[in-house]
Amino acid sequence: MRAEAVKFDNQMMEDPATKEKTGAKMLMECFLREGVDVVFGYPGGAVIPIYDALYEAPIHHIISRHEQGAIHAADGYARATGRVGVCIGTSGPGATNLVTGITNAFMDSIPLVVITGQVPTSLIGTDAFQEADITGITMPITKHNYLVQNVNDIPRIMKEAFYIARSGRPGPVVIDIPKDISYATGAFHYPDSIHLPSYQPTVEPNASQVSKVAMAISEAKKPIILAGGGVLSASAEHELLLFAEKLQIPVTTTLMGLGGFPAAHPLWLGMPGMHGTVTANRAIQNSDLLISLGARFDDRVTGNIERFAPNAKIVHIDIDPAELGKIINTQYPLVSDIKYALQKLIKMVKPTDTMGWVGQVLHWKKEKPLTFKDTNQQIKPQYVIQQISKITKGKAIISTDVGQHQMWAAQFYHFEKTRSMLTSGGLGTMGFGLPAAIGAQIGKPDQTVILISGDGSIQMNIQELATIAEQQLPIKIVILNNSFLGMVRQWQEIFHDKRYSSTPMKGPDFVKLADAYSILGLRATTKEMVRETLEKGFNHSGPVIMEFIVEKEENVLPFVPPGASLDEMIEEGQE
């Protein structure tokens, strides 16, 4: 696909630069110049000219069954590959159906370029058929957006959009293109450089600030690293490993940071926060220096912020200056790309003696591993995930939906590889997992992609099973079926006296449903069936749905209740 794209690109480059092109054809050429070989989308009236240009372009278009599916797929593609995800939707409902997906990418800093069709320029503002003010709607949920008003602006806008989406703190960019502009013709000039004086992200850290941070780290006795999604977006996994090993500092990774540091590493403490490990939370509460790398002190990580890391000074390294001091006072703020910052710090910091501290933390890790009460009859959801982790050796790409299964996946799957946990962290979007798995499998055709979902979440974008079947994507779908919206049920159990208001839920027969899509369907109802079901499913060459009928009222533990501090965890056996 890439080679073909380059060939097409070269062909186009040979054309005289001034050759007239339609807006839609310009768009294709811009895609090729940005290295785009796959786009996700759904056609409609206002994007017919764009789809007409796609018809002959060497770009693989994946048609979803709902625009939300297309944009989450683009998002999953971006997360798994590190490239910019591209999505196309039509005007009006096509564009508004993208809104959740755009917000999802915005919250998790995922680079997307989203093309929406718009009604023709002459009809804008008249409440025309399928008109929606999508630039107005997406202003608060995009890094930037554009309404194209002149066909000649398309190359510049596209170049800027890709640059804005992937540079600095990544995020989604929307480009709204009225239909007449897609049809209009103009001379194609792809700019060589980008002129955006008002957008100059700081990549390299300030030298004197780096020395202060280095000094603080050298003086720390009980340091801990809190690594977030920023480590992945900066591709700083290797630097993180060197840094932690050289200085012997334990590492906890947030939900977005999972996979950024290998789970098998002795210095890894697991995830912190509401459903984090006892070790990670204790280590944070007892540390004297917390080094945050591309994390944003989300409330699910910190618990009660007033009592978060009470003895620690905070080093906060982030590429987005607005994150520094937003939630927590920082003694050592450092605006920088994480990779550059770590490269400098690895050279400058003098290792100190953290042996006693590391020994203490490792003792907690041994004493308080994540556990659950296993049984011999019923299937425990955690057990299923443990088995998946063992079978794949922690090396598959895991996509999740949102809820209990998501937290169990974060806890019991041992992520050894970066960009292998695709999950909706900030927005918490149910229905993200299935389309995200599609995007990941398209971007990483040779890797095993597993969706871990629940019976609630899977039904939120279940129409995308048709996309999987059509594209013959060998995605392994695991449904942990407890016939409940489990996470809400858990909160109702703990805070609302088991008044299960609208959380019991009856799903379809997932095995029959799989069959309807010509997908292999398997079901396990007892513990002894788990292993064989997984092995059968994983050995199947095509897509498969594996449904596990799990314990209905299992809780995700440990659990830091909202408003409590990280040392006030409800642990297994203390319910």
């Binding site: 107005g136 608060p140 890094k143 008002s198 987005d320 200056p321 607005a322 001091g325 937003k326």
Partner: protein
């Protein structure tokens, strides 16, 4: 505490919405906002007065700065600066009170810009203190309408 922010932005459709929307969704309350072109082609200056403590204003500034259309954000509250607002006040006036009102506003260098048979309209510019003083002086006569532009501010020197 009130902060006066001076912001240079691209003079483009939608930029005002972008900035105002940002204040709204981050829960920052705008006291007043003025916008106008600058001496440089393609750029506008916004003067925004916002209520809040230092930490909130820091966050406002950083969030503004993240906008691709924002070139520069300056908190000029504690800088030497001149801030001016223009107000227009429509006051009830009869032939007997007309002269009295005209005399009253003279020390403020305010001007009568319209006279109708039962009202007069007065224009005044100045800082907040002065404008509040005029308004209070005129209130007893019966203010029918009051229009304020919001503050525009410029650094001294």
């Amino acid at each position: 505490m009130k902060h006066t922010l001076s912001i240079i932005v691209n003079n483009q459709a939608g930029v005002l919405t972008r900035i105002a929307g940002l204040f709204n969704r981050r829960g920052f309350n705008i006291d007043s906002i003025t916008v106008g072109r600058t001496e440089e082609q393609g750029l506008s200056r916004m003067t925004i007065v916002v209520q809040g403590d230092q930490r909130l204003v820091e966050q406002v500034k950083k969030q503004l700065h993240k906008q691709i259309d924002v070139h520069k954000v300056m908190d000029i509250t504690n800088e030497p600066m001149v801030a001016r607002e223009l107000i227009m006040i429509k006051v009830k006036a009869s032939p007997t009170t007309l002269q009295e009102i005209t005399n009253l506003i003279e020390p403020f260098r305010a001007a009568v810009i319209d006279v109708a048979h039962s009202t007069i309209t007065i224009q005044a510019t100045g800082n907040e203190e002065k404008l509040n003083a005029i308004i209070e002086l005129l209130r007893p006569y019966g203010i029918k309408d009051l229009v304020r532009t919001g503050f525009a501010a410029i650094q001294r020197g």
